[in-house]
Subunit: 166 residues, 2 copies
Amino acid sequence: MKLEEGKAKFIQSWGTLGSAWGVNRTMAQIHALLLITPEALSAQEIMDDLKISLGNANMNLRALVDWGLVYKQLKAGERKDFFIAEKDMWDVVRKIAAQRKKKELEPVLKILNEVAEVEGSGIEAEEFKKIITEIQSFSQRADKSLDTLIKADSNWFLSTFMKMMK
Amino acid sequence: MKLEEGKAKFIQSWGTLGSAWGVNRTMAQIHALLLITPEALSAQEIMDDLKISLGNANMNLRALVDWGLVYKQLKAGERKDFFIAEKDMWDVVRKIAAQRKKKELEPVLKILNEVAEVEGSGIEAEEFKKIITEIQSFSQRADKSLDTLIKADSNWFLSTFMKMMK
DNA sequence: ACTTTGTTTCAGAATTTTCTGAAAGTTATG
DNA sequence: CATAACTTTCAGAAAATTCTGAAACAAAGT
């Protein structure tokens, strides 16, 4: 396989993976392109490469920077912004986990706390509270696990991975 | 909070969470409704409750049954199918993980194997291979971890959770 | 073998998400 | 301070996803 073909395939595949993971397709493709590009790229180069509009490139780059998956780099003597990707996969996963925990898990926990207090003492209300409590305790455990994961460094991941495996 | 209000809130919230997780909104809402309903429900009851069409209810119920998140139950003397949810949260997570591993992670691993073999010995090709190899090894580790998780039972989860925490 | 009850399918409609392109905004430079 | 280089914003367009309703299908009862 030719290098160009390999690059295109990887970008395409990463885009698909991303869209299944709450990162939109283009956002993931930009990330993929930056991952496999050793030097920093300008918005213009990204646009041209992925055949997307300037507006689209700009919005998704900003989101990537917000998520901490891409860094803005200023080159001396250049007015343009350049972008490079975070290339440590472990860091990438942690950052995505942090975003999604905040955006998705935390709101659910809040709702669970609220609905756990429904009034009524009928059998129906009891059943409802029972299952809500179970989901709640599971979610809290997931929340704490994510906290650990988000704070942990790469070595921790490796060692937990080893523990899991045995 | 009234029971009815609590139920509605939970269904709504679970729908939102689901749609962020590759399970479509309605599918997650049906699952939520079944979770908080002690007895099995018919397609008709689900339709009425969530105000969705029969076609929609049918398609999403089938998907839930495929995923193993909901079971079809036949009641003696009834021609209708009835549905109950898998209520063990740990099992729910495992089943979702299994589906997503197959649908998302495995195709990416395949592509990574392919593109890892690009020809060319320039510095560009070397850099490309280097990052691909890193992503590959990370993904393989994730793949194996997921296998362990999918096979494991609830006690394993608890004990790994404890290990992670210390 | 007809009717009734229930399920499945799927084309087009509705909705949601993402993208474009042009205009407005910002900052550096002569 | 005028112009050029670049970035940001956002309304409407385009694309992708999900939903509906009606028709086809299936199975059981009479």
